[in-house]
């Protein structure tokens, strides 16, 4: 019996995992992967599934591995850059293999919409010798999740379920098993001691041939699966995977009887490459168009195959410039690129575009809605305080300040008019980067910003390094009590776990003290007159010789209800616009020649503290 539900790709994966009998689920939040674990957590009690947000992806993977070694079925969720953090255990794990089952959900982000990279996890799977499944729709995500668990169990290998933003975050009608998810069976066997679980060079040497043989077996197995499917019977072949395959289908439909011109091959199991199936598809084809987002992964696989079997096929893809090598695809890009290939093929038919009544060029000028920190966000106060402190130091001692940012909401500190982020690389890197900068710019002050969740993710080793090697840096931890950017997940500093149960809260200030930082202070940013104390603390910390840490504690306005709002007294306001120009608070807007404060003010009071005319005051209590 099945039911039809409207599900987001990530939710479909969650239901698939529960139906596959997953018992342990770990992960670190990261758009676009987050909702998979959150959905499972909703069913955790009912189904008896252990669920956790781990402190980072490496820890999440290792936790899941322990469960899988015991015969349990485990799932780990992360985004593509999270896989880099988890890659150390992953590379060894592929040699060792698993019992039970272990599936990694890794969400790629072509575009990228909210990521530092456009890396392609299909290639990572190839590199790590780990099978990769690449769904195109929420329905396929659901089905391939179940397949991933089966494969992992049968072949004793971890399996990667790779999605992209358009699968993870799109919603569609999904046929799922009827009824509410049922409790899963608990692990029967438990951990059995065996030398197999202890990686040694000798074991690696022994396991490597096994690892290679699994790749061959899987390639054979994949060739039989109908997740790799053929449509049409024309002499121009098109091969595609993931959501690109849907774009292709839609693009070619604009040609009548497209089945007679094209043969489409959709690859659902991308690594190990289903060689046999692709070979039989390539028979009778003399022109091949490869459509895929991000890396030319399929293209390279196909080129190898063509070389290996001396096939007379011309290939049109990224490598010879027919398709864009970066960015997210869509039907329009795919249409244009296929048309370019058709020209070179000598084919007279063209795929057609729909033509809009109004093209982009004809649009009148539109206001920019730039990403910005929320109205009343505590980060704005801290950034502004450091900006003031740096200005004062510049004036008093001609000292420059370099600000190293990190990944999270506070990356938005780079936005106009704050301009407070001079570097941003990856999670936790701001601290070590500041350390490096301090070696080569000893006259400047070095400030690193990091968020609370990121501090626990990968900030701590960098703090230890700064202490151990005596880096002259100031670390500002912006602790708003949540992992805000990915949707407000708790973290080890909050004292609540993923199920909402109380756990031990870890104090960031205590951690850095025990790491040996001598100058540590905690500053509350919630007071309506906190700016002055923040500036003072910032300056003192920056003048401290050696590593110093300031923990700024406030709240995320995304999850707390504001208790008051501010207003501008029009009779006192001189219209100097200083408040607007300095802060970039989205609640402050110019109305005619004087600013007004809008409904979204959450009452931080920052603007009131900087107005030179004292025209801003508490306007009342928010209901």
């Amino acid at each position: 019996m099945t039911d039809k539900k409207l599900l987001m790709g990530n939710e479909a994966i969650a239901l698939g995992a529960i139906e596959a009998g997953v018992q342990v689920v770990t992960g670190y939040p990261g758009t676009p992967s987050t909702e998979a674990l959150e959905t499972i957590a909703r069913y955790a009690n009912r189904c008896g599934i252990y669920t956790e947000w781990s402190s980072n992806e490496k820890v999440a993977l290792e936790t899941a591995v322990g469960a899988a070694y015991s015969g349990a079925k485990a799932l780990v969720t992360m985004k593509q850059v999270g896989l880099n953090v988890a890659s150390d255990p992953l590379m060894s794990l592929s040699y060792i293999g698993v019992k039970g089952a272990l599936v990694l959900l890794v969400a790629d982000d072509p575009g990228p919409h909210s990521s530092q990279t456009e890396q392609d996890t299909r290639v990572f799977g190839h590199f790590a010798n780990i099978p990769v499944l690449d769904p195109a729709t929420p329905q396929e995500a659901y089905e391939l999740t179940k397949l991933a668990f089966e494969l992992s169990h049968e072949f004793e290998t971890p399996v990667i379920l790779r999605t992209t933003t358009r699968v993870s975050h799109s919603c569609g009608d999904v046929e799922v098993e009827a009824g509410e998810p049922a409790p899963v069976e608990a692990v029967e066997e438990g951990f059995v001691k065996d030398r197999r679980w202890t990686i040694f060079p000798k074991l690696t040497a022994e396991r490597h041939p096994w690892l290679e043989s699994v790749q061959e077996k899987l390639s054979e197995h994949f060739s039989e699966l109908n997740f790799n499917s053929v449509l049409g019977s024309g002499k121009i072949g098109i091969i595609a995977s993931g959501v690109s395959a849907l774009y292709v289908k839609e693009a070619v439909k604009t040609v009548r009887d497209f089945e007679k011109l094209f043969t489409l091959f959709r690859v659902g199991t991308v690594y190990p490459f289903p060689e046999k199936a692709v070979l039989s598809f390539l028979k009778g084809i003399d022109q091949l168009i490869v459509v895929e987002e991000l890396d030319p992964y399929l293209e390279e696989q196909v080129l190898q195959l063509i070389g290996k079997f001396h096939l007379p096929v011309d290939v049109y893809g990224k490598k010879n410039g027919f398709f864009p090598v970066s960015g997210e695809y869509n039907v329009d890009i795919v249409t244009d690129s296929i048309n370019r290939a058709l020209v070179t093929c000598g084919e007279s038919l063209r795929l057609s575009h729909a033509s809009p009544a109004v093209s982009r060029e004809k649009l009148p000028p539109l206001p920019i809605r730039a990403p910005t920190l929320c109205a009343g966000c505590m980060h704005r106060t801290v950034f502004y305080a450091f900006k003031q402190a740096a200005k004062q130091l510049k004036k008093e001692a001609q000292t420059d300040t370099i600000f190293s940012g990190d990944i999270g909401c506070y990356t938005l500190g780079n936005a106009y008019p704050l301009n407070m982020v001079d570097t941003c690389l990856c999670m936790g890197a701001g601290i070590s980067l500041a350390g490096g900068l301090s070696r080569t710019n000893p006259k400047a002050k070095h400030v690193a910003f990091i968020g609370d969740s990121t501090f626990f993710h990968s900030g701590i080793p960098a703090v230890i390094n700064a202490v151990y090697n005596g880096a002259n840096i100031t670390l500002a931890v912006l602790d708003n009590r949540t992992t805000a950017m990915t949707g407000h997940q708790p973290h080890p500093g909050v004292g609540v776990n993923v199920l909402g149960n109380t756990s031990k809260a870890i104090e960031i200030a205590d951690v850095v003290k025990s790491c040996g930082v001598e100058s540590v202070r905690t500053i509350n940013t919630v007071d309506p007159d906190s700016l002055e104390s923040c500036v003072k603390a910032a300056k003192e910390a920056m003048n401290f010789n050696g590593p110093s840490v300031l923990v700024f504690k406030g709240k995320c306005v995304g999850i707390t209800k504001p208790d008051k709002y501010y207003k501008i007294k029009p009779e006192t306001c001189t219209g100097c616009s200083f408040c607007i120009k300095e802060l970039g608070c989205p609640a402050l807007n110019l109305d005619g020649d004087k600013p007004v404060i809008q409904d979204n003010c959450s009452g931080c009071g920052l603007c009131a503290q900087i107005c030179p005319s004292e025209a801003i005051c508490i306007g009342g209590v928010k209901l």
Binding site: R166, G172, N330, L363, P367, Y416
Partner: protein
């Protein structure tokens, strides 16, 4: 059958809820459906749009340029921004209630809602314009502007399923505490538009 709807607005206006309601109604009517939200880095104050693709076959979730059958604009500037997705002869419903951008970075053009509305009307003369925020505020809360626009779409008979289906979904999906006001906004907008489109 294939019918593509695009909803455009600003973070906090309920774009995602509106698209979920339409998607559920489409499913109930027996179609395949696929939706995609496109949001920038900032969840608040930024441009938000949602693509809803309804049809007999599953397609990618993004509507290609020039193919949307219907554009529901919750705000004038965002409506214009997404206009290239609309096909020739497509239908447009616009909430005339403007939301000025949060901050004005250097180089950001002035926001002139009136000019944008007349631009819209020049290309799509049979456009439905109304202050749905005011209408919703009138019946209870400005927050129901998104549902009012769904009511207007139903009233204008531009949806590929019966309006009763959408009503059923509304009743099932909207939490009881907000149901009455949303129902009222839906009905008021539906009737207004029906009145205009059935002279």
């Amino acid at each position: 059958m294939k019918y593509d709807i695009l909803i455009a607005g600003v973070g906090g206006q309920g774009v995602v809820l509106a698209s979920r309601l339409l998607a559920l109604a489409a499913m109930k009517a027996g179609f395949h459906v696929s939706t995609a939200e496109t949001i920038g880095m900032s969840q608040r104050e930024g441009s938000v749009s949602s693509h809803i693709r309804i049809g007999d076959e599953t397609s990618g979730s993004l509507i290609p340029i020039g193919q949307a059958d219907l554009l529901l604009g919750l705000e004038p500037a965002e409506t214009v921004r997404n206009l290239p997705f609309l096909k020739e002869g497509g239908k447009v419903l616009v909430n005339t209630h403007a939301i000025p951008p949060a901050s004005r970075p250097p180089g950001s053009p002035e926001y002139d809602p009136a000019a944008l509305l007349s631009f819209l009307c020049a290309y799509y003369p049979d456009i439905f314009c109304s202050d749905f925020t005011e209408l919703a505020d009138d019946v209870g809360t400005y927050r129901a502007a998104n549902v009012a626009m769904l009511g207007a779409a139903a009233g204008a008979r531009v949806l590929p399923f019966k309006e009763e289906i959408l009503k059923e979904i509304l009743d099932a999906e909207i939490p009881e505490k907000y149901r009455a006001v949303n129902d009222a906004a839906f009905e008021r907008a539906r009737k207004c538009i029906r009145f205009i489109s059935d002279p």
